[in-house]
Amino acid sequence: MKAKLNRETVVRSKLLWAVIAELLILLVGFIMRPDFLSVQLMTLADGSRVLFGTPIDILNRSAEITIIAMGMTLVIALGGTDLSVGALVAVSGAMALKFLRWDVLEYPTPGDYTVMPYFLVILVPLAVCTLMGAFNGLLISKLGMQPIIATLILMVAGRGIAQITTNGKQFTTMYTPFQQIAQGYFLKLPMPIIITAVVILGVALFTRKTSYGMFVESVGVNPNASRVSGLQSSRIILIAFMITGFLSGISGLIYSSRISSCDSNNAGINNEMNAILAVVIGGTSMSGGKFSLTGTVIGSLIIQTIVTLVYFFGVVSEAIMAFEAMIIAVVIVLQSEPVRKFFASRKRSRASATGGAVRA
């Protein structure tokens, strides 16, 4: 029993530190401006009452990264990375807007209609992104390419595909069902928060209620042994990349719904780096193996909290990156193994001192 507890604290402590870091950042925000943490009910123009406040914003804005990071967690647990997610976000947005505005070619005025049936507007981009994820997966599992390079291909080409889809234009839409994806509310919460929750739940159920999660970890730790034990690593890799592609697609829909438009140049820019950062801050090792979805969610929240904090206090724009880097550096150092061990050993030595007393 004692052993079990001990082990669990070791496993969890990385997560624990991530949570502590997040709380500290929130605390800093709170000290500087007490209303940083305030959430209140607000009445919208149409009379509905919704929750409003910076914490809600953080959750809302972190949706895109969190959703992608869910897939990225699996990819990283397999020992890979996916650099193409940002480009897929652009592809998905461009496809959706193309389907909404099939009729226009040149600089269009916004239209509150959809040309193609609405289910196609949603399904086709998701399907295309899933296929692109499958393309990544095949290059890696069948051709044995290194993930960074394999996904670099779509990272470069993906934006080109997105631009060709809309002929390089930013279409704008006023079609309400589409706008609702990101701008609507459900249960008094912004829709992206709900979608994120559903995605997290879905991925968690898929990995933990089936054996997929264990297979991913096994292939991530030792592909040779996994193969001998009968795992089809190529299929497992393929599925992970398809999930990531699919989730990037969802993220792209949210993004373009937020701005009621598509923006192939800027959609999803740097999402790959942020998602990887979120996963690693969440305690999943880049060399593959055990993963933690909860950790990823917290990692993603940490990143978004930092960004929001920076916006909120209007730090001179030049310093944003340096400021972010500093906070992340502190988080990472706190999380690092030796530091954790240091704290753990201090705790243990105290515990063993009392234990010794009892024995005596």
Partner: protein, 350 residues
């Protein structure tokens, strides 16, 4: 008992050692692509000597950085901060020279110190704190970019006779015509960056192949745990490799500063991926332990032909250009894979 392998030590077998197969595959792909370019755009001047020397001088900054990157990748690490550090170097030099009126050499030395120190710090964090290289260096990249923007949000041009002189140093390739040496037309030349690039490749090769330090780098990439158990100085080697890479980034930044004679906080954005992909195309394994400087050089040249071909084509839409870049990259890697795979098979059936 194991069957005795015939011990052939002739020069031929040493050259055709299977461990160089990636290098040869890259060379082969490069030749194929170059031939393709020559057939398609030969009349537009693709085959001139100028195009070839431009591939060197226009990519020297990538190559210099790739020297350090190759070493980092061989240890099994990665460094995403290289481009940001190079850009920071440009800012230091530009700000120091143009705004503060310092001597360019002071700025260069200062940059070298800062870049190397940053590399060492990142290396230490990676080794002692066990933070994944990807994350450590991503943070380093944010930091360097942030400092860049703090120095100036506008680009600063470098206005200094020394820099002008260095940037203007060109050795034209001449041709004997009617008993007189004249510049080739269109002019082809080699400049200082190319020399830095070639010098760094040679230094890198010597370090990797001729020093214990270099062999330790390979050992760590092969199996870090084993390297430690074999009593190799893992900590020192890893930290120094990142330090050396910092140095290379700064040199790359200097090559770039000579190239554009200015500093800009957004310069070289995303170039770290260019550098990494050059190395990987050149046969360096991201998983560590495998790679050669010569391969990396070919990788740089190969990567340089993509924009060259696109520019020579000249009718391609921006977005088609992106897709085409992706396709070419895919093509390179697939050919390489096929070559390596078939040679593996050949070896097995030997």
């Amino acid at each position: 008992m194991l069957k005795a392998e015939p011990r052939r030590q002739s020069a031929l077998t040493r050259i055709f050692n299977p461990k160089y197969i990636m290098v040869y595959a890259t060379l082969g792909v490069f030749l194929v692509i170059y031939l393709f370019g020559a057939l398609m755009y030969g009349d537009k001047g693709f085959t001139t000597l100028r195009t070839l020397t431009l591939m060197f001088s226009d990519n020297a900054y990538v190559g210099v950085s790739a020297v350090g990157m190759t070493m980092v990748l061989i240890t099994g690490g990665i460094d995403l901060s290289v481009a940001a550090v190079a850009s920071l170097t440009g800012m230091f030099v530009a700000y120091g020279v143009t705004v503060l009126g310092l001597d360019p050499w002071v700025c260069v030395l200062f940059s070298l110190a800062v870049g190397t120190a940053l590399g060492l710090v990142m290396g230490a964090a990676i080794h002692y704190l066990n933070v994944p290289p990807f994350i450590t260096t991503l943070t380093g990249m944010f930091m360097a970019r942030g400092v860049c923007a703090l120095i100036s949000r506008e680009s600063i041009s470098i206005d200094n006779p020394t820099i002008d002189y260095l940037a203007g140093l060109k050795w034209y390739i001449m041709r004997l015509q009617d008993g007189e040496w004249v510049k080739l037309k269109p002019v082809a030349y080699i400049n200082l960056s190319v020399l830095i690039f070639i010098a760094m490749i040679i230094i890198g090769t010597i370090i990797l192949q001729k020093t214990r330090f270099g062999r330790n780098v390979y050992a760590i990439g092969g199996n870090e745990q084993s390297a430690r158990l074999m009593g190799l100085p893992v900590a020192r080697t890893k930290v120094l490799v990142y330090g050396f890479n910092g140095l290379c980034s700064v040199l790359s930044g200097i090559a770039y500063a000579l190239y554009v004679k200015s500093g800009w906080n957004l310069a070289l954005q995303g170039s770290e991926l260019d550098v990494i992909s050059c190395c990987v195309i050149g046969g360096v394994m991201l998983s560590g332990g495998v790679g050669y400087m010569q391969g990396m050089l070919l990788g740089v040249l190969l990567k340089a032909t993509i924009p060259a071909i696109i520019t020579f084509n000249g009718t391609m839409n921006s977005w088609w250009a992106k897709i085409f870049t992706g396709l070419l990259l895919l093509l390179f890697i697939i050919i390489q894979r096929v070559v390596v795979a078939s040679s593996d098979r050949a070896k097995k059936t030997e």
